[in-house]
C-alpha cells in the first residue's frame, strides 16, 4: 500500500493538476484528460505500474458534466501495489472521447473496445475500435443510463435469418421486474425485491395502474 501512496505523492508533485479521488480501497487520483497519457506513462515507467488490469467507464447520467468518466486500474508486479486513475471524457454526450492507452499497454485493446461497445466512448488512436460483445451494426450502447435493461426493439444481426424466422430483437418481458433492491436508507427486509408487489406482468396489469 505504501508503494501506491508514494506513487500518488510522486505523481501529484510531478503533475500539479492531478487531484485525490475518493476511494474505499486502494489510492485513486483524478487526472485531466489532456494529461492522461503522460501521467499513465510516468506511472508505468517511473513507478513500475507495469500491469493495466482493467479499463472501465462510469455514466453519471444525462445532464451530468462530465457525463462519462473512464477509469484505469493499474497494478505493479514488482511492488504489488495497486492504483486507480480516473479521467473525464471530452466531447458531447453522443461521442465522448478519451485518448487510447493501447500504445502504452497493448492489453488495453479489448477493454477499450468493451467500453466503446457498452458506453459509446471513442478511444482516440485505438487501432481497431469495433464492438466486442454486441454485434457490428447494433444501434445502441446498452450500459448508458438512458438505455432500458429490457432493451430496445431492433433487427436481428442476420437479415436472412430475420426474414425467414420473422424474429426480432425485442424488449425483454420483465414480468414484474426488474428485480432490484429499493434504493435509499431503509430496513433491508423492506428493500428486498420480494417486498415489492411483483404480481403484475405483461399479461396481468399492475393493480391500480
Amino acid at each position: 500500500m505504501s508503494a501506491s501512496v508514494d506513487a500518488i505523492t510522486y505523481i501529484k508533485s510531478t503533475f500539479p493538476s492531478v487531484t485525490d479521488r475518493l476511494s474505499s480501497d486502494w489510492p485513486a487520483v483524478n487526472v485531466p484528460t489532456g494529461e492522461l497519457i503522460s501521467v499513465l506513462k510516468s506511472l508505468r515507467d517511473e513507478q513500475a505500474f507495469d500491469l493495466l488490469s482493467d479499463v472501465t467507464a462510469i455514466d453519471w447520467a444525462e445532464g451530468a458534466s462530465p457525463r462519462f468518466t473512464v477509469v484505469y486500474h493499474l497494478y505493479s508486479t514488482t511492488s504489488h501495489a495497486a492504483i486507480r486513475v480516473a479521467t473525464p471524457c471530452t466531447g458531447d454526450d453522443a461521442a465522448p472521447t478519451v485518448p487510447s492507452v493501447v500504445p502504452l499497454w497493448p492489453g488495453a485493446n479489448w477493454h477499450e473496445r468493451e467500453a466503446y461497445d457498452m458506453f459509446g466512448i471513442t478511444f482516440e488512436g485505438h487501432p481497431d475500435l469495433r464492438r466486442i460483445l454486441m454485434w457490428d451494426g447494433y444501434p445502441y450502447h446498452p450500459l448508458r443510463k438512458e438505455f432500458p435493461l429490457a432493451g430496445i426493439e431492433t433487427v436481428l444481426p442476420d437479415s436472412a435469418v430475420a426474414e425467414e424466422t420473422k424474429a426480432k430483437v425485442i424488449a425483454a418481458p420483465m414480468m414484474g421486474g426488474p428485480f432490484v433492491a429499493s434504493a435509499g436508507e431503509m430496513n433491508l427486509t423492506d428493500a428486498e425485491p420480494r417486498a415489492k408487489d411483483e404480481s403484475w406482468s405483461e399479461r396481468s396489469a399492475k393493480p391500480g395502474a
Binding site: M134, P148, L149, V161, E164, A167, A172
Partner: protein, 171 residues
C-alpha cells in the same frame, strides 16, 4: 398358456424369414433408438449435458450417445444454454444444416424462455427461431431431466407418420 417353453417372438422356421410390419413402425423403431444429438452447448447447461454422456447417467442406454459436432450427421439439436441475439442466427444456420428428420430439445430455462436473462442481449426462448419438440425446465436441469426429455422425444418419434412423409413427394 404362457410357459417358459412358449415362443412368443418371431420364429424364422415358421414364418419363413419374413416379417410383416408397418413401415411406420419399422422406420420409427430405427429412428427412436439411434438419435444422434448435436450438442449446442452455449452456457452452463452444457455442463449437465456433458454429465449425461458420462457413465453415471449414460445416455447410451437410450441410444443417443453419438454426439455429433457436425450438424450434417445429427438428428437432434440439444440447445443447452443461453442463446444471445448475436448467436441466434448461428444457431438457426446450424439447424438449417441438419438433415431431416430433425428434432430440437430446448434444455433449461434459458433455451426455453430466456430464463433469468430478461435483458437486451438474450433471445427470449430459442423457439423464436427454430421449432422446439421438447422443453426441459430447470436451471440447470438435472441430467435425469434431460434423459426424460429424450424419452419423451422418443415417444414423439414413435408416433410420427414417417412413411407417408418419406414416400409422398415433398416440395
Amino acid at each position: 398358456m404362457v410357459t417358459s417353453n412358449s415362443e412368443l417372438a418371431y420364429n424364422g422356421k415358421i414364418e419363413g424369414e419374413v416379417i410383416v410390419s408397418r413401415a411406420d413402425a419399422v422406420i420409427n423403431w430405427i429412428r427412436t433408438n439411434s438419435v444422434w444429438p448435436m450438442p449446442m452447448g452455449l452456457a452452463c447447461c452444457a455442463i449437465e449435458l456433458m454429465a449425461v454422456g458420462n457413465g453415471r447417467f449414460d445416455i447410451a442406454r437410450f441410444g443417443a450417445e453419438v454426439m455429433r459436432f457436425s450438424p450434417r450427421q445429427a438428428d437432434c439439436m440439444i440447445v443447452a444454454g443461453t442463446v444471445t441475439y448475436k448467436m441466434a442466427p448461428v444457431v438457426r444456420r446450424i439447424y438449417d444444416q441438419m438433415t431431416s428428420p430433425k428434432w430440437v430439445i430446448a434444455m433449461g430455462a434459458c433455451a426455453s424462455s430466456g430464463g433469468m436473462y430478461r435483458s437486451y442481449a438474450t433471445l427470449q426462448g430459442v423457439d423464436r427461431i427454430i421449432p422446439v419438440d421438447v422443453y426441459v425446465s430447470g436451471c440447470p436441469p438435472r441430467p435425469e431431466a434431460l434423459l426424460d426429455a429424450l424419452i419423451k422425444l422418443q415417444a414423439k418419434i414413435k408416433a410420427e407418420r414417417s412413411a407417408s412423409e418419406l414416400f409422398t413427394a415433398s416440395t
